[in-house]
Symmetry: C2
Subunit: 211 residues, 2 copies
Amino acid sequence: MSYPASLSLMFPSSDMDKITIEKNLFCLPWTQTILGTHFEGKVNFMALAWLTRVNYSPPMLGICVNKQHASHAAIVSTKEFSVNVPTVDMVEITDYAGLVSGRRVDKSKLFEVFYGELKSAPMIRECPVTIECRLTETVSLPTNSFFISEIVAVYTEETFLTDGKPDVKKINPILLTMPDNRFWSVGYCVGKAWSAGSGLRERKKEHGQEE
Amino acid sequence: MSYPASLSLMFPSSDMDKITIEKNLFCLPWTQTILGTHFEGKVNFMALAWLTRVNYSPPMLGICVNKQHASHAAIVSTKEFSVNVPTVDMVEITDYAGLVSGRRVDKSKLFEVFYGELKSAPMIRECPVTIECRLTETVSLPTNSFFISEIVAVYTEETFLTDGKPDVKKINPILLTMPDNRFWSVGYCVGKAWSAGSGLRERKKEHGQEE
């Protein structure tokens, strides 16, 4: 399969402002979370920003952990973990959780811990949203493992809800960009999803560009 | 492996504000991107928000696509795709790309397209950052596939760089929260990663809590 020649002709290289940069140098904001595990029988936490939903129904979450981390060994062993969403007020302690290894430092007392259905998924009481996960599949990659999990339960508090749903402005989560290594807040609402494009769709229909 | 009984005793249920909510109801902000593919020989685009880095070295990116989407069939067929990062100015057209299916509507003219190394990874010139990806592994899940890819190249423009790195405030990307379905900007810088916790670390060392 090849692209139409007309496309490349439309944008001759002399007209291009695009440059390539080193492949790790793209600063997409990821939501900063804290991974909770049981490492060698003890509660452990780690800063975690590489994660995503991976399935709609049933709800599943995937997380990416470096193979050298204590948390990696913990998940391989217990097949359970928690994903905790801290607020911007928790930047210092969240960053600390990522600075020191559970192999050297006892991080079990960093936060107040509670449990849901799982025995080895310690959740952080101070976090407005916490997610209990049960490992279903592990994808081994060169330096990291991608752990795919079923979401067992999601915990929050009434105070973080608007119309029965968690409100991101009440949760006030932290975003991370790398490799400039900066934490960010969420800004202002810039539109409604599955709605902001409706006007454009109507205009295209009027012009016969959509049946 | 079980957790210490003392932990559950520390937080009797009467003292807990935590409630459980429906498992899809957690509104983590995801970066809103636009997936570029070749579907049946034609350029196609789709709104994509479920993605994450999955490996540090080599740089790899994983994306989650519903099995019913044209973009899913496209990636299975060509084993190539692009991930394009729109700015908040592009909310309407980004949302439109997610409202209509490439099976019914020709989305090939929505954006100006350019190509890098790959033949079937059309990139969007209007997007400040675009990423070319080559599929390396597919994980089949109940309703979605998780496509794991090697990052082939990253494209941006000088105007979006600060100190040689893409600057998230210049890129001004869109975040998505679900199921409240709102788009957001990135807010203000709330700290430096791998640094904000250094003071806490020093204080803990002084108190002998870290060797």
